[in-house]
Symmetry: C2
Subunit: 419 residues, 2 copies
């Protein structure tokens, strides 16, 4: 059964968009959407999401860390479950679609399945993770880590900008953090985890495609580099006698760009820079900048980090300036499971869309979920690649296509091993 | 008569250093020396300088803009004068030698001439200019402009950081700004202007030389450049699809360095830079930086500015980012008079030092004085090229060599035209 937009699914896109608009109302003041972990807005959104889940024929509850979980039962009781979900939280002044899209769409799809009386040998659970962005406590992937069994109890003592510890915030929010340890799901009960998410990049739009199957979630290394040269008078020190920290940094920035352009799926960014003392007429004695290197393949990333560091060392040695590099964040990437990629791609093709595979440069809950189960992701085109911004935008048509793909995927879903 | 350090001039270096230490006492609180225009410290220093001038057999007075002028009469009355001088003011937390060296040394030399009963067919005037650095009112070369007849009356209404207008500050200081217009000296009465100054750069020290004759005071162009690209997620935008403002700026910085290394006497500096939004994981959508280009030859500088701008335009066009350049300061350079350079160099050689000519990248009062007379400058080695800093340092030996050179120069001085 493949319905057309004029048929059974005529309202699918608008329905999803309406729910996304509704969810966006649960926001702190300011532009766009600000919905942080364990806040009143989180609670409001969680109530709305549970209500939609129940409407769609699911049981729904909030767990001890603030995840909302809805379960659409299988044809048998206690069947293993296909997990589908994304995160309910946003960055400060973010958009309506990052995260929310991957909660609203599967709920809407299950509503259609429920209305049609379609059930499967496997259960489907939709999870609205409590905190992927890590805005409030600087700790990302809290909800998915809890379910994957990698939640670090130590983060419960970290405090938000008001000095409130996470454990206290959770109790005030209405859940019992002592219950988090027991949220870890045994792998046996899970068939896989699939997430639908906006691309947050320009690839699909530029290739005129609505959908893409994610091959890997990039791992990332973040460094800060400090180059120390010698400050001097911009008029009195001849070019050949300078040890300019900023020209060394400029050469480093171009080396990073050049190296990271050499391999597909590798990206490198210098996002922040300063030069000291920072006067128009003084040669910089110090330059400080950040380096963010990501790749779907961890070996490619590690090689890039080593190569870039070595190249910057060479630049600095040649220029007679000193280099200090501090790696302040490092996370391994997550390969999507080929069998899930294949089934997602088959669904894309089945609804008449061209297949496309691409890497995710941004982090997602799948990185945590991969610890306990196979992971697959479907990307949806977003306007201009803009995300983490009030201008984040998708079309109702693309929302409908993503929902049709998910429906197709669920209906044709073949677990990796027999149930 | 060429005295050795063990003879008549045995105490010359220590005497000069002692006076420089004494002058440094007239400072606002803080590290190093802070002596701003028309302040109590300016008044204190002016009294000390006039006292030294009178001790050296000169008449001394303060003029209507705050310059201190001492005159050592010629063998005849109303003879034209050789002007020698430098500035009494400092930057905030500057050193003891910038400016002060060029006041104390000629006064000390004239004391020696006076003690020996040596007079010449020309008078010698030592000028302690009131404000070269422009720290208090953001207007440089106030004293030399007044004498050269290029003082702009409009600056009298500019205010300091406390909101006090310059005219009011001068009256409170004890001079009458209405008298500034009449300070302009007719060219006929002046034989030339010579300044002794620390190099403020590393050239003499690196070439193991105490003294250098300045060929030109560099003109300068200061610009701010703003590159506008597209911000984006550091993980999700492939390298080939970026319009990174900072990588464009990095290429621009290296282009400036490369071009300005191509001609002797040309220097180019990027001293300040920022990237926005300025997060480790966001591709910069905007980069703003300053460009300072100087050359002894104005044509070389103008060509460099044009070439660098064109090259940055090309870089930005190729990278799909926009460039806006604002020229916020431009001053023409000042060529030193060959006849003064020759006589200064002859004096350097006569005291047994190797000849060396070099450009001044920093600005000096000679830039204003060149409007009314020929200009020459003698540079003295300073430690590490450091200036505008409490660590500014020279040796007593170099102070003695500079004084011996100045004495030799005065004794052998031949005006360009017969008196």
């Amino acid at each position: 059964m493949l319905e057309t937009a004029s048929g059974l699914y005529a309202n699918l896109g608008p329905d999803i968009m309406r729910r996304l608009d509704a969810l966006a109302l649960f926001s702190e003041d300011g532009d766009g959407v600000t919905r942080r972990f364990a806040t009143r807005e989180h609670r409001q959104a969680a109530e709305m999401i549970q209500s939609w889940m129940r409407d769609a024929g699911m049981t729904a509850h909030m767990d001890a860390v603030g995840n909302v979980i809805g379960r659409y039962e299988a044809t048998t009781i206690n069947a293993p479950a296909l997990l589908i979900g994304s995160h309910q939280d946003t960055v400060r002044e973010g958009g309506k679609y990052d995260g929310a899209m991957g909660i609203v769409t599967p709920i809407t799809c299950i509503g259609i399945l429920n209305n049609a009386g379609e059930r499967f040998p496997f259960a489907i659970e939709v999870i609205a993770f409590c905190d992927e962005e890590g805005v409030r406590f600087n700790s990302t992937l809290l909800g998915s880590r809890a379910i994957a069994g990698s939640f670090d109890k130590a983060v419960l003592t970290t405090t938000d900008s008001d000095g409130k510890p996470m454990a206290e915030a959770l109790r005030k929010f209405g859940v019992d953090p002592d219950g988090i340890a027991s949220l870890a799901r045994p792998a046996a009960g899970i068939l896989g985890f699939v997430e639908l998410h906006i691309e947050q990049g320009p690839v699909l739009e530029e290739e005129n495609l609505a959908l893409g199957v994610v091959t890997a979630i990039a791992g990332g290394t973040r460094m800060s580099a400090k180059i120390t040269g010698f400050a001097g008078h911009a008029g009195t020190v001849p070019m050949a006698r300078r040890n300019d920290a900023l020209t060394a940094a400029a050469e480093a920035i171009l080396a990073i760009e050049r190296y990271c352009s050499s391999a597909p799926g590798l990206v490198g960014t210098v996002g922040r820079i300063s030069a000291a003392p920072g006067a128009v007429n003084v040669i910089p004695g110090e330059a400080v900048f950040t380096i963010d290197i990501r790749a779907g393949d961890d070996a490619v990333r590690r090689q890039a980090v080593a190569a870039v560091r070595a190249e910057i060392e060479t630049i600095c040695a040649r220029r007679g300036v000193r280099l200090a590099v501090d790696v302040f964040h490092e996370s391994d990437g997550c390969q999507c499971a080929p069998w899930l990629m294949d089934q997602l791609e088959a669904a894309v093709i089945a609804i008449g869309q061209p297949p496309k595979r691409l890497m995710s440069g941004a982090g997602h809950d799948g990185m945590a979920m991969a610890r306990v189960t196979d992971v697959g992701m479907l990307f949806v085109r977003c306007k201009g690649g803009i995300s983490h911004h009030p201008a984040e935008s998708i079309t109702a048509g693309d929302a409908a296509l993503s929902a049709q793909t998910l429906l197709q995927f669920i209906r044709k879903f073949e677990p990796k091993n027999e149930i």
